[in-house]
């Protein structure tokens, strides 16, 4: 008997790869223009905080090509589009809370004319004192949401009794998403007062819901559709929707198709970023460097509104243990308010800001007890039987970090290279090298439990072709490819039979955002369930038709055998149809086992953990602070990989994106709250030469997920970003070398050349 080639575990190219390279892949703004199509642009505030008294928009109305202008008063339905908590007016009604906040919107005959027209708007504003600085917000207890606390044991007592102890502070910078495709939406007016939205969003259901609320119509009159995004990274989870709402309002007012896409500068000014944090720690440990207690105060800068910040600061708290057991622990998490753009989801969702703090603590312990940081890391890792309870009381049941570190330590030749780095530094007065190995343990599941659900819709047509739809969105991560592989596996057919279609809220409703690395886990499972239902119907029918047992119906190699009868998959589908069998089914999935009680700050928020580790070697120039990553070795645990090429792509891309966050990507505002780094000319994401010359990425072998996830795989979207923390630790190691390892360097993130030079100055002046 022939065996089908396995579809799971195959490095199939991305399903759109051919369209990407030929330019045929269609993004929102590439849609052919409709007759009479119009273009919207938003006018933003020029102050960070104030009362909006009035606006003079006469010149805007009279500008060339302008068709319509709207303000808050023109919104027919609900004005507030806050995704979880209120606080995000679509257009400002009374209080301005950040510089750039949308005050009015213009509709014109072209994108360029709309952009020019908005510059003519004049707002009369009674200025109010803004809070722009995180430290000031902490001091004033100025929050968007109340603080949250997690604790286990008696941290005060444990700290007081610790044989060694230090306190410290780490500033962790934010990050602009810089998806290559900016925010974009098109609203097409439909019948019955409804509207069809084409949008670049990770969250079509939210676009649908908010458009319905803003228009004051039921959700069943709105359809939101996303074929693909040119990158998302969390920046299109909640911050994709305002532009759909603006376009929809204009579309209903004019009856015309309306496009609203942001210029790069507007996108950088008007949409939220990764939260910057200011984290303090008080650490107790033994003479050997074993942690006995940590008290953390994590303060995230949320900007002017809650948005997703509650869950983001929570996730920072869930991850400030990273991979290590802390016997007595207390974590306070603050959600600080400032008059800046509302910070939002970004790959890792607060987790990275927690992980880096723990890794900074580990490095400082190692320095304190004069041991190699790797020894301290290994000494403090979680265990699976004893030292296995997290600060939020979830037990670590299966833990791959120790094995990953052991293998990586050998594969990367860590100890020999540690010696080589020391030798290099002895003979090199200007350039210094640094080396670090850091692990990551990342909790998988939305910590807001109800989001852990997914739906799918599968049709098998009479010619044997398969149509697949699910609630997940494609932003480059290869979700559509993986889910198609899963459906093809279930039917034992070639994946080319499965056509992936745009995510639409009228096909699969009430979906969760494609976020929290959950895309394949939940949508893959939902699609599998849909395919299973259809397959079972075909099995039952064919068994009856050919008078054989159900177990004699075997799907294999694009064929179906029923006892001794052989049918092609097409024939089987057609025959089932003739037998009046439904070849269409929905599928549903909800993640089991998870729960979290905020009152007691305990539970099992995560179904499982995704793990990995990286070794980075860097060189710095002590005269200029310039830096380069020379080599990175990564070993990452994705369970049983559904598509190794796609998973490796996520790991590599995550590492480089994390490297950008921690080195060259620096957000700067002026004293008025104006974003200075508002274009790629001043905000520098990694370019080709920033990738290390030696970049070895491997997936852990024979490591099926211990939980029954889709084909025992593990989520991979966010965790690898935190592997880049090894580069940041290596930079600090190199700075320490500049001071002959006599001083533990003060280094914050991002470690720009300027930060590094300042840090070098610090270790050399003492």
């Amino acid at each position: 008997m022939l065996h089908s080639p396995s579809r799971i575990g195959t490095s199939m190219p991305h399903d759109s790869a051919r369209k990407h390279v030929t330019g045929e892949a269609v993004y929102v703004d590439d849609q052919p223009e409709y007759a009479g199509q119009l273009y919207a642009c938003v006018g933003g505030s020029r102050v960070a905080h104030g009362k909006l008294k009035s606006m003079n928009l006469e010149k805007v109305r009279q500008a060339q090509g302008v068709i319509d202008v709207i303000t808050a008063a023109d919104i027919p339905g609900q004005l507030d589009i806050g995704p979880v908590f209120p606080g995000d007016p679509l257009l400002v009604e009374s209080e301005i809370e950040y510089l750039g906040q949308p005050l009015f919107a213009v509709l014109a005959t072209s994108h360029e004319l709309a952009r020019r027209a908005v510059t003519l708007g004049v707002a009369e504003v009674e200025p109010l004192e803004p809070v722009l600085d995180l430290e000031q917000a902490i001091k004033q207890e100025f929050y968007v949401r109340p603080p949250h606390r997690m604790q286990r044991g008696d941290v005060d007592k444990a700290l007081a009794g610790a044989s060694r102890r230090f306190t410290g502070m780490l500033q962790v910078g934010g990050q602009e998403h810089f998806y290559l495709e900016g925010q974009a939406s098109i609203a097409i007016p439909g019948e019955d007062g409804g509207v069809n939205i084409l949008t670049s969003t990770q969250n079509p259901t939210e676009a649908q819901k908010l458009v319905a609320e803003v228009l004051g119509i039921p959700m069943n009159l709105v359809n939101a559709e996303t074929r693909r995004m040119g990158g998302g990274f969390g920046g299109k989870e909640t911050h994709g929707s305002p532009w759909s709402c603006i376009a929809a309002v204009f579309a209903r007012r004019t009856g015309k198709v309306v496009s609203c896409r942001l210029s790069r500068r507007d996108d950088m000014v008007m949409t939220g970023k990764r939260h910057n944090f200011l984290n303090r720690y008080d650490v107790g440990f033994s003479e050997q460097g074993e942690i006995t207690a940590i008290s953390y105060l994590l303060a995230g800068q949320c900007g002017y509104s809650p948005d997703l910040s509650d869950a983001i600061v929570d996730r920072a708290m869930f991850h400030c243990d990273n991979a290590y057991y802390i016997p007595d622990v207390l974590i306070d998490g603050l959600r600080c308010k400032t008059h800046t753009v509302s910070n939002t989801a970004f790959r890792g969702f607060g987790g990275p800001q927690g992980v880096i703090t723990m890794e900074a603590v580990i490095d400082q312990i190692a320095f304190n007890v004069t041991k190699d940081p790797l020894e301290i890391r290994k000494l403090n890792l979680y265990d699976t039987d004893k030292r296995n309870v997290t600060p939020y009381h979830q037990q670590i049941e299966s833990y791959t970090v120790p094995a990953i570190i052991e293998q990586l330590e050998n594969d990367s030749d860590y100890w020999r290279r540690r010696e080589a780095v020391r030798q290099f530094n002895q003979s090199s007065p200007v350039l210094k090298k640094g080396l670090a190995l850091t692990p990551v343990k990342f909790g998988i599941s939305f910590t807001v439990s109800h989001l852990n659900q997914a739906g799918a819709l599968v049709h098998v047509y009479t010619d044997g072709s398969i149509h697949l739809n699910h609630g997940g969105t494609e932003m480059g991560q290869g979700l559509m490819t993986k889910v198609a592989q899963i459906v093809a596996e279930e039917f034992q057919v070639n994946p080319s039979r499965v056509v992936v279609s745009a995510t639409r809220t009228d096909k699969v409703p009430n979906t969760a955002p494609t976020a929290a690395s959950s895309g394949t886990d939940i949508n893959g499972m939902a699609a599998l369930n849909a395919a299973r239902t259809i397959k079972q119907r075909m099995v039952e029918f064919l068994a009856q038709q050919y008078k054989v047992e159900q177990k004699e119906i075997v799907f294999q190699n694009d064929q179906v055998s029923a006892g001794e009868n052989m049918l092609t998959f097409e024939q089987a589908a057609k025959s089932a149809w003739l037998g009046r069998v439904s070849l269409s089914s929905t599928g549903f999935y909800k993640t089991p086992k998870i729960h979290y009680d905020r009152e007691t700050a305990s539970g099992r928020p995560f179904f499982y953990y995704a793990n990995g580790a990286a070794v980075s070697e860097v060189v710095i120039d002590t005269l200029t602070g310039e830096t380069r990553v020379l080599r990175a070795d990564i070993l990452h645990d994705v369970g049983n990989s559904i598509n190794p090429a796609i998973d490796i792509g996520q790991v590599e891309g995550g590492y480089i994106q994390g490297l950008g966050w921690l080195t060259s990507e620096e957000l700067k505002w002026d004293k008025e709250g104006r974003l200075l780094t508002d274009s790629p000319a001043t905000y520098k994401i990694p370019a080709v030469s920033d990738a290390p010359e030696i970049f070895s990425v491997r997936l852990m072998e024979n490591a099926p997920n211990s939980e029954p996830t889709i084909f025992r795989s593990k989520a991979v979207g966010e965790p690898p970003l935190m592997l880049a923390i090894s580069a940041w630790c290596a930079i600090r190691d190199a700075v320490a070398a500049a001071g002959d390892y006599n001083t533990f360097p003060e280094l914050h993130a991002p470690a720009t050349p300027e930060q590094i030079l300042q840090s070098v100055n610090g270790v050399r002046s003492r």
Binding site: R116, S263, V430, D621
Partner: protein, 489 residues
């Protein structure tokens, strides 16, 4: 009227706005939406297209950012976009390699990368070893940002597609296209200025001179990588543009005794080739100047005339004692580069006057010249500090080696590119040792009071400038000491 080829199809445009960009033309007029807008400022490369023009043999294929290229600049050229690469169902080798190496994720940057890879495919020197090929690949891709992949698979795809001897469907038609391009660009040149009313295309230096006098408010378009930002970023309209591209005299290079006379419209790419042997330091700087797309368009004259405080060539030219040849009507004058800049973005150019050439002294025996660029990112970034140091030496009465002349100029440190006169004064006639260097470094604080901005703080700029002087000293006194992160393995 302008004429160009859109792949193989001849396009004739009678009327168009002077500041209409190639990207707008492709997406809005031609419906070719494969070319993407990522930033509209020439910083991300998503809009990269290839422009071919006749070369000594066949065609030159140059990648450019279509978002900051004005349509009129295509006169007499062939425009190739991502839609043109495949031959029917057969993908171009660079496209196939990109798929094979999993080089696309979200796919939005991919068409731009494909076009940079296509330009690389056309230019990769045959027989180059893998290290050399990798270096060139980085240079060609440095202007394309990808936020998903981390670049490794894209570099692998580029290397794989340029490994073999190369021929594609463009090679087959190359000579035919070249002939056609020569024909269409000459067609309208009846010793008259061509183009449309708002977009003038003089064909010679004298035509340019008279056009500039007639239209003193028209903007000169050299590479346009800065000028176009006024349109796409500051939302201004440019009513009248004079294109320099067809003025052959401006693209010539002549040897004039001990100096080179470099036409003002010589591209940065050609400057790089020209100076590789004579001034390898300038060549190295140019590899980090903008991106390949920008260097293909940007010109040496443009980098001076736009009088930006952060242009990278002015400090180099000032330190090397270069001069500018200016022309207004039939009158010409020669000025020192350092005299050219008056204030922030202000120069001594009179209305109707333009730079026709740069007079660059050739290196001489005993000259120590270095140029350093420090920025947040290695690729395609604007300098926080750019420093050019040019020292020469002689022996004093006691036969000790002393610094006989010192010319030091910096960019990013003041409103204009400027000499470090106090620093120079200390170096001159002093011994070249660590204590002199320390004193000279301190003097930089008298010479400059830089600003803090998005790129760096004032304090950082000063310290880096001082340390670069120390780096210069180290590099010339102990060559066992490594001083460049980019040279470490």
């Amino acid at each position: 009227m302008i004429r160009f080829l859109l792949n193989k199809r001849e396009i004739v445009l009678q009327d168009f706005a002077a500041d209409f960009t190639v990207l707008e033309y492709l997406r809005n007029q031609e419906g070719r939406c494969g070319t993407k807008e990522g930033c509209a400022s020439g910083d991300c490369g998503a809009c990269t297209v290839v422009v071919a023009s006749p070369a000594e043999e066949g065609l030159n294929y140059r990648s450019v950012n279509s978002c900051i290229t004005f349509l009129g600049a295509l006169h007499g050229k062939q425009l190739i976009t991502v839609e043109d690469l495949a031959a029917g169902n057969d993908l171009h080798p660079v496209q196939q390699a990109m798929i094979d190496h999993h080089g696309s994720q979200c796919g939005f940057c991919t068409p731009g990368f494909i076009m940079s890879m296509f330009a690389l495919y056309k230019d990769m020197p045959p027989g180059a070893d893998r290290n050399h090929r990798r270096r060139i690949t980085h240079e060609y891709l440095a202007g394309n940002l990808c936020r998903c992949t981390g670049y490794r698979p894209i570099v692998e795809a580029a290397l794989a597609s340029t490994e073999q001897p190369r021929s594609d469907h463009f090679s087959i038609d190359e000579n035919e296209v070249a002939t056609k391009l020569i024909e269409i660009s000459d067609h309208d040149s009846l010793d008259n200025v061509t183009g449309v009313e708002a977009f003038l295309i003089p064909q010679s230096l004298s035509e340019l001179a008279s056009t500039c006098l007639e239209k003193p408010t028209a903007r000169l378009l050299a590479g346009g990588s800065d000028l176009a930002l006024e349109v796409t970023q500051q939302l201004r309209s440019l009513d009248s543009i004079i294109l320099l591209d067809q003025v052959k005299e401006l693209r010539q290079v002549k040897r004039d005794g001990n100096r080179l006379e470099i036409g003002a419209a010589v591209s940065l790419l050609d400057c790089d080739k020209l100076l590789q042997v004579r001034y390898p330091q300038i060549s190295q700087l140019l590899h980090r100047f903008g991106s390949t797309q920008v260097r293909n368009q940007g010109t040496i004259g443009g980098n001076i005339a736009n009088a930006s405080p952060i242009g990278d060539l002015p400090p180099v030219l000032i330190a090397l004692d270069a001069r500018l040849k200016l022309q207004r009507g039939e009158q010409t004058r020669v000025v020192l580069v350092e005299e050219f800049f008056v204030d922030y973005r202000k120069t001594i150019l009179q209305p109707g006057e333009f730079i026709s050439a740069i007079l660059l002294p050739l290196p001489f025996e005993g000259q120590m010249f270095r140029v350093y660029k420090v920025s947040k990112r290695l690729d395609d970034d604007i300098s926080a500090v750019c420093m050019a140091i040019n020292l020469s030496f002689d022996r004093d009465s006691k036969d000790e080696i002393r610094i006989s002349s010192a010319r030091i100029a910096l960019g990013g440190m003041a409103a204009i590119p400027k000499r470090a006169s106090s620093c120079e004064a200390i170096l001159k006639s002093a011994e070249f040792d660590a204590s002199t260097i320390d004193q000279a470094a301190h003097a930089l604080e008298e010479d400059f009071s830089p600003i803090s901005d998005a790129r760096a703080s004032a304090g950082y700029r000063i310290q880096v400038a001082q340390n670069l002087l120390r780096r210069f000293h180290l590099e010339h006194s102990d060559n066992s000491i490594k001083t460049r992160v980019e040279h470490v393995a």
